[in-house]
């Protein structure tokens, strides 16, 4: 018999282009403090910490948890750092889940933080794959979007990416923590300057300084701490190798496999019917459509229809990114934890203005690396 675990508290910072008022440890502390306050527990109730942050070249500090950890307000606790690119924040939550389900710890604080405004632009590129021809994330996402549109045209067109942006920016207007809260129309997105075709400026995310934190507890503590915990129902991760000439970017297999693992754990057979909403890592507009398909909410090529018909709108049949997603707030490695935080809050009925009514099961997704890493987390209102 495995041990159950749940999210019982959540905290995030305001995500902004440049947080000049705080250092990296202070930024992380802000989210950690809010999560502890939200759970209504004290520092001494926490048994261990999992910390996630992006490339060391962003903080410019080796083993940043050594510097940042003591600022989190829970001194002397065991701390472990995970770093898996874009999925870092989700990997931290998942590690916290295993801290608890292993029986080694009862209450674990997971924190993810990044302050890219202070980074060296470009970070440390990979010698073997990228540095030689400056393939960065935008170019990679453009290649992915091109492959996706080409495969499914005319069912999927550039306009569908623009519709995703309009939807998510509209949702973000209701999210007080979002970085970009001004709505845009699809035609504004289409008219924005090209970045790497088919991506235009507004198809791409902002980059934020920000942090997120979750308190994760075992069954006994969770019931004590929260009246309505968000129980972990299923988790899956999958990594793909770096050398993948036949990698299908329009239907990424790591995402498909991570979802399969999570669905199997959560006993979910028909994701669209059994789940109430999903928060996906929409770092670029078209990716929301690609992940919606790869996670099994519709068939390949039907992502465009999902957004065009309003199915994925906040008041639609299956809301995608009611928080506004990464397109509205992109704090590096913390972004993946934000997806989980938002999904958990929806299940707890505490998402505020962007709460979707009656959410019982919600999913969070993230991707990282050169599309190599995927994580999927499913929360349920019942254990």
């Amino acid at each position: 018999m495995t041990r159950a675990a749940a999210v019982v508290g959540a905290g995030q910072t305001v995500h902004a282009d440049r947080r000049t008022d705080v250092s990296v440890p202070e930024l992380a502390r802000e989210a950690a403090r809010r999560a502890l306050e939200d759970a209504g527990i004290r520092a001494r109730d926490v048994d261990a910490v999992v910390f996630g942050s992006g490339p060391e070249s962003w903080e410019g500090v080796n083993r940043p948890e050594g510097w940042i950890g003591p600022a989190l307000g829970v001194p002397g606790k065991p701390i472990l750092r995970v770093h898996t690119g874009g999925t870092t924040g989700a990997a931290a939550t998942i590690a916290a889940f295993y801290h608890v389900t292993s029986g080694m710890f009862d209450v674990v604080l997971a924190v993810a933080c990044d302050k890219p405004s202070e980074r060296v632009a470009g970070g440390l590129p990979d010698d073997e794959a990228g540095a030689g021809f400056t393939l960065d994330t935008r170019e990679l996402a453009a290649m992915q979007a091109r492959q996706y549109i080409d495969r499914h045209y005319p069912e999927v067109r550039e306009e569908h990416g623009a519709m995703v942006v309009a939807k998510n920016r509209g949702n973000a207007a209701k999210n007080p923590f979002a970085q970009v809260r001004t709505p845009v129309a699809a035609k504004d997105v289409m008219a924005s300057p090209p970045v790497a075709t088919p991506l235009k400026e507004l198809d791409c995310p902002p980059l934020a300084d920000g942090a997120a934190a979750l308190v994760i507890a075992d069954e006994r503590r969770a019931r004590k701490i929260a009246s309505r915990p968000a129980w972990f129902a299923g988790l899956g991760t999958c990594s793909a190798g770096a050398f993948m000439p036949d990698f299908d970017m329009a239907y990424p297999e790591p995402c498909v496999r991570a979802a399969q693992i999570a669905y199997q754990m959560a006993w979910i057979y028909e994701p669209l019917r059994e789940l109430d909403l999903v928060e996906v890592y929409d770092a670029f507009s078209f990716q929301e459509l690609i992940w919606t398909e790869a996670l099994g909410f519709c068939n390949p090529g039907e992502g465009g229809k999902m957004v065009e018909q309003g199915i994925t709108a906040m008041d639609g049949e299956f809301p995608v990114n009611p928080s506004g997603g990464i397109l509205s707030a992109n704090p590096g490695g913390a972004g993946a934890m934000l997806r989980q935080l938002e999904a958990a809050l929806q299940v707890m009925g505490r998402a505020g203005e962007h709460q979707v009514p009656g959410v019982k099961k919600a999913m969070a997704h993230s991707w990282g690396g050169a599309l190599q890493f995927s994580t999927v987390t499913i929360f349920s209102h019942r254990m």
Partner: protein
């Protein structure tokens, strides 16, 4: 607690400069050999936990580049950005949670390609310590000075650690430093930062290590003798050296107490046959005797001088030669685990100590041993 065991392991022959090797080739080698050592194939592995360093690799999100080499393609895989022993602790959580049966732990470091000071100076924060050039060596020297001063020890006390470990390393086919040194040679070697001398500091090493951890059921059915994990602990001290009692390593003491409680150990000196500890500098091994409960505070030099922790002693510390004989950064702590597992399962070859029932593996990280991890194994 016999919920999980170390079943297989492999390490490279550690070298100052592994010319012709890449991180991928080193990783592929140890993964292949570790799986073979417990008669498994990569198909038997449920989850891969790796340790790596962006700064050491000169690459953002370093694990991206070694997924193929680890055999982690299309598997659950997570990078722990710390020492390999911390990755092993996470792997232990994964198999004891009941969701996975087997985990492969991989760690590697190719320090010859990165200026060492870049690595260790980056451990200090940009505001307070870095302007003072506090790197691992400077922080270590400061700590060594505190320790020697507190107990009125001469600088020849830690030098004896180097003599003991280099004597042991000479028997270890995987060690980088294979020649014994005399006390006179250690004392005559140049001071890097007083009181740490050249022969009392870890070498720069290229190397890798892989370990297979499995749950109870898999371990019981294994064709090899399992090294059962009976206790573990990890912890951190305050970041600023000024906020600590620097002549003690509290996080190691706390981690050990937790592990001993789980393993039912009350007198580590008589109950542990072997300890493999991460002594990046000679004085650290003395501090660790005290933190790990082998002796009282300030008594480590006497314990060492008594021969109890050396070859033929009752509680041999670093029969592999320890970190002073090979320091494949990031993999350093995982090598300690591999050595400890080898000792309790009678597979340690040339460095085998007779009749080891229980062994401890320790790792540290950060400035002046800010982070500590321990794992207790039994046969």
């Amino acid at each position: 607690m016999r919920d999980a065991a170390v079943l297989g392991w492999a390490q490279t022959e550690h070298r100052r400069r592994a010319v012709g090797e890449t991180p991928q080739s080193m990783v592929f080698e140890v993964v292949t050999r570790a799986l073979a050592s417990c008669e498994m194939t990569i198909r038997d592995i449920d989850v891969v936990i790796d340790a790596g360093s962006d700064l050491l690799d000169g690459r953002s999100t370093s694990n991206r580049a070694v997924i193929d080499a680890m055999g982690a393609h299309f598997k659950e895989e997570i990078k722990v950005a710390g020492d390999g022993l911390e990755a092993a602790i996470y792997a232990l959580m994964r198999v004891t949670s009941g969701y996975s049966s087997t985990a492969l732990v991989v760690a590697y470091g190719k320090s010859s390609e990165t200026p060492a000071r870049c690595q260790t100076l980056a451990l200090s924060d940009p505001f307070y310590l870095r302007p003072l050039a506090v790197d691992a060596l400077a922080a270590g020297a400061l700590q060594a000075r505190f320790y020697l001063h507190e107990y009125g020890l001469g600088s020849d006390a830690p030098a004896l650690v180097a003599v003991k470990n280099r004597e042991a390393g000479a028997r270890n086919p995987y060690a980088q430093e294979k020649s014994p040194v005399t006390l006179e040679e250690v004392m005559a070697s140049p001071e890097l930062i007083s009181p740490i001398r050249r022969l009392e500091a870890c070498p720069v090493t290229d190397g890798a290590c892989a370990v297979v951890i499995a749950d109870r059921q898999t371990s019981r059915a294994a064709s090899v003798r399992p090294a059962w994990i009976s206790g573990t602990g990890h912890g951190a001290d305050p970041y600023s050296p000024g906020a600590r009692t620097l002549y003690r390593t509290e996080s190691a003491a706390r981690s050990a107490r937790k592990a001993y409680a789980a393993a039912g150990i009350s007198d580590p000196l008589s109950e542990l046959g072997v300890l493999e500890v991460s002594e990046y500098y000679s004085y650290q091994e003395l501090m660790l005797y005290e933190a790990l409960g082998l002796c009282g505070e300030g008594e480590a030099a006497d314990l060492l001088a008594s021969g109890a922790t050396g070859t033929g002693g009752g509680t041999v510390v670093n029969p592999s030669g320890g970190v002073l004989c090979a320091n494949p950064l990031v993999a350093t702590g995982l090598v300690r685990l591999a050595e400890a597992a080898a000792q309790v399962s009678g597979r340690a070859g040339e460095v085998q100590v007779d009749g080891v029932d229980r062994a401890l593996a320790h790792s540290s990280g950060g400035l002046a041993m800010q982070f500590s991890s321990v794992m207790v194994l039994e046969g």
